[in-house]
């Protein structure tokens, strides 16, 4: 854990260079994440500043978890930039999960631009034995 007196170490926004082309113009950024797990759940915490909860999409398909978010802020046209140090764009990041997740109990919370997704684990996947009947 970072000690409270330390200065923050800035991280540049990381742009996603997708294999696929976007259908909408604009940049796509990979949010910074913390990922941790215990016996019960896998938790992903992602920084998505500017994104309201209604613009977050969490999608789990097979074993791929996709997080995306669209910021709601836009700069009115009559404003003229004096300094522009960051650009805004959609957030997108995908993870391949190695655990079996209890999909019905996924929990997500967005607070001050930080998304927290808790993915409860289903007990270890038991290899299913197929009985073969004769005759």
């Amino acid at each position: 854990m970072a000690t409270p007196t330390q200065d923050i170490q800035p991280r540049e926004k990381r742009e996603v260079k997708s294999e696929r082309e976007q259908t909408t113009p604009g940049r796509v950024y990979a949010p910074s994440v913390d990922i941790f797990e215990d016996d019960q759940a896998l938790t992903i915490v992602a920084d998505m500043p500017g994104v309201p909860s209604e613009n977050v999409v969490i999608d789990l398909r097979d074993d791929v978890l996709s997080l995306s978010g669209v910021p709601s802020v836009s700069v009115p046209e009559q404003e003229e930039y004096l300094l522009r140090e960051y650009d805004t764009g959609k957030y997108f990041r995908q993870f391949t999960l190695s655990e079996v997740i209890d999909q019905a109990n996924i929990n997500a919370n967005l607070s001050n631009g930080v998304l927290r997704v808790t993915l409860p684990k289903v007990g270890p996947a038991k290899p299913r034995r197929i009985e073969i009947t004769e005759g």
């Binding site: 800035p10 991280r11 540049e12 500043p49 994104v51 140090e85 960051y86 001050n112």
Partner: protein
């Protein structure tokens, strides 16, 4: 702490001081395939939080992405033409039983001072923190606002 000056606005101020370093960094970035430059925006290295500053005839607007800060730990102050944004971003401890796979999010204190391009009415400055975004609206002082001059014919 990094101070950027915008003394002779709108854009002359960007050419002095740290701008030279930024330009070298940008050029290097281009050489090595970095993502800065050429898009009308530039990120100075090692500075937090990054700022977007704009204006219209009434106000100067400062926007910044500072996700995950508690309101009590965010401080905005204006002294003369100097705007200071400071605070601390804390990442609460998780249970000791967790195993981390990735830790990309940073915690710690930050402080950024910015010299405003014009005089502002510091009594009417408003700041709003929503969805992890800070937005400061600084009304220009009356004498700094553009005046329409009536032309007599």
């Amino acid at each position: 702490m990094v101070i950027r000056r915008l003394e002779n606005w709108p854009f002359e101020g960007l050419m002095g001081g740290t701008a030279d370093l930024d330009r070298i960094r940008r050029d290097l970035g281009r050489l090595f395939g970095g993502q800065t430059g050429g898009n009308g925006w530039e990120a100075p290295a090692g500075v937090f939080p990054l700022l977007n500053v704009s204006h219209d005839s009434e106000n100067v607007y400062v926007r910044s992405e500072i996700p995950g800060v508690i309101l009590d730990q965010l401080d905005v102050s204006v002294t003369g033409r100097s705007l200071t944004i400071s605070g601390e971003r804390a990442i609460p401890d998780e249970k000791s039983s967790v195993r981390y796979h990735r830790r990309e999010r940073e915690a710690g204190k930050f402080r950024r001072q910015f010299n405003l391009p014009t005089d502002v009415d510091s009594d009417r400055v408003q700041a709003k923190y929503q969805h992890g975004m800070l937005m400061v609206v600084l009304p220009k002082s009356e004498k700094a606002k553009p005046k329409k001059i009536a032309i007599s014919g």
